[in-house]
C-alpha cells in the first residue's frame, strides 16, 4: 500500500512534470521562438539589395526601400510564428495543468462516476 501511495503521489506527478517540461521545451524549439525574437528584424530569406559603390541617390533609395520591405516582411512572418508558438505554449501549459490536476482528481472521478452510474442504473 505504501508503494502504491508513493507511486501515485510522488513518482507519477514527477513524471508528469518531466513530460510537461519536455512538451514545453519541444514547443519552444519547434517554433524557434527565442531565435525568431533574436532575428526579428533580419531580412526575409536574406533578400538584401546592395547599396553599391559610390553615391547614387536613386540606387540608395531603391536599396533602402527594398531592404526595409524585406526586413518588414521578415518581421511580419516571424511575428505570426511567434504568436502561433506562444499560443501553442499557452495551450500546453493549460493542458499540462489539466493532466496534472486530473491525475490527483482521478480516484474521486472514478469513484464518483461509478457511484453515479450505479445510481442511474438502479434507481
Amino acid at each position: 500500500m505504501e508503494q502504491v501511495i508513493g507511486w501515485y503521489l510522488s513518482e507519477v506527478p514527477k513524471n508528469i512534470i518531466k513530460a510537461w517540461k519536455n512538451f514545453l521545451a519541444f514547443g519552444l524549439d519547434y517554433f524557434s521562438i527565442f531565435l525568431l525574437f533574436k532575428t526579428f528584424f533580419s531580412y526575409w530569406h536574406r533578400y538584401k539589395s546592395s547599396y553599391g559603390r559610390g553615391f547614387d541617390l536613386k540606387r540608395y533609395f531603391e536599396a533602402a526601400s527594398f531592404n526595409l520591405i524585406s526586413r518588414a516582411l521578415g518581421a511580419f512572418v516571424r511575428s505570426i510564428f511567434i504568436v502561433v508558438g506562444i499560443a501553442v505554449e499557452i495551450c500546453l501549459v493549460f493542458l499540462g495543468l489539466a493532466v496534472f490536476t486530473g491525475w490527483f482528481l482521478l480516484p474521486f472521478l472514478i469513484s464518483g462516476g461509478f457511484l453515479f452510474g450505479v445510481r442511474l442504473l438502479v434507481f
Partner: protein, 201 residues
C-alpha cells in the same frame, strides 16, 4: 564465476506479483470495459440524439457507460501501476558497473519482466526435465511469449512459427541426466553477452 541467483531478485518478486489475479487480468478487463463503455456510449448517443429510446433506457445506458468507463479507468490504473512500478524495480547498482565485474553482482537483477518470465520458465522446465538450464530452452521461451519478436523475424524473412516448432521439438527431446550444474555454459554465455550488449545501449 557465474553469479546468477534468479530466485532472490526484485524482478522475481515482480513476476510473483504479475501472477496475482488483480494484475494478471487487469489488461484483459481494461480492454473489455473499454469496449463496453464505447458500445454503451454509442447507444446512449444514438438514443439521446435521435430520441428513439425512452428516457429510462437512455438513463440506463448512460449509467452503464459511467460504470463501465469508471471500471476501465480503475483497471487502467492497476495496469499502469504494474507496468511502471512493479515491473520495473529500482536497481541499486548501475548495469555498467555489473558489466565490468559480473562475478560480483547478481546478473539476474537486470532482467526486464519479459526476460524474467522466459528465464523463470526455462529454469522450471529444465528442472522438470532434469537437465541444465540452457540457451535453447531460453530462446524457445523468449520467442514463445514475446510477440515483439514477430516484427524482427518478419524483417529478417525468417518463419518464426517454424523456428518455434523446431525449438519445441528440440527441447522436448532433452534427455534426463544428472545435471553437473544448474546452468549450462551456453546459457551463462548468452546471459553475459546480453549484459554487455545492454550496457552498451
Amino acid at each position: 564465476m557465474f553469479n546468477f541467483d534468479f530466485k532472490n531478485t526484485a524482478i522475481n518478486d515482480s513476476l510473483r506479483w504479475s501472477r496475482q489475479p488483480v494484475f494478471a487480468f487487469a489488461n484483459l478487463f481494461k480492454k473489455i470495459f473499454l469496449g463496453l463503455s464505447f458500445i454503451s456510449f454509442l447507444l446512449f448517443s444514438y438514443g439521446f440524439l435521435s430520441e428513439n429510446f425512452t428516457l429510462i433506457l437512455n438513463r440506463t445506458l448512460f449509467g452503464a457507460f459511467l460504470v463501465f468507463f469508471s471500471s476501465y479507468l480503475s483497471f487502467w490504473l492497476i495496469d499502469v501501476f504494474f507496468s511502471m512500478r512493479l515491473a520495473k524495480p529500482k536497481l541499486t547498482i548501475e548495469i555498467s558497473q555489473a558489466a565490468l565485474r559480473p562475478e560480483n553482482f547478481n546478473i539476474a537483477e537486470f532482467f526486464s519482466i519479459e526476460v524474467a518470465k522466459a528465464v523463470g520458465k526455462t529454469i522450471k522446465f529444465c528442472e522438470v526435465k532434469g537437465v541444465e538450464a540452457n540457451s535453447t530452452a531460453l530462446f524457445y521461451f523468449l520467442l514463445k511469449d514475446n510477440p515483439k519478436f514477430n516484427f524482427i523475424f518478419s524483417r529478417l524473412l525468417l518463419d518464426i512459427s517454424d523456428i518455434k516448432k523446431n525449438l519445441e521439438e528440440r527441447i522436448k527431446s532433452f534427455e534426463e541426466k544428472t545435471p553437473v550444474k544448474l546452468y549450462a555454459s551456453n546459457f551463462e554465455n548468452t546471459v553475459l553477452e546480453s549484459l554487455w550488449i545492454a550496457q552498451g545501449k
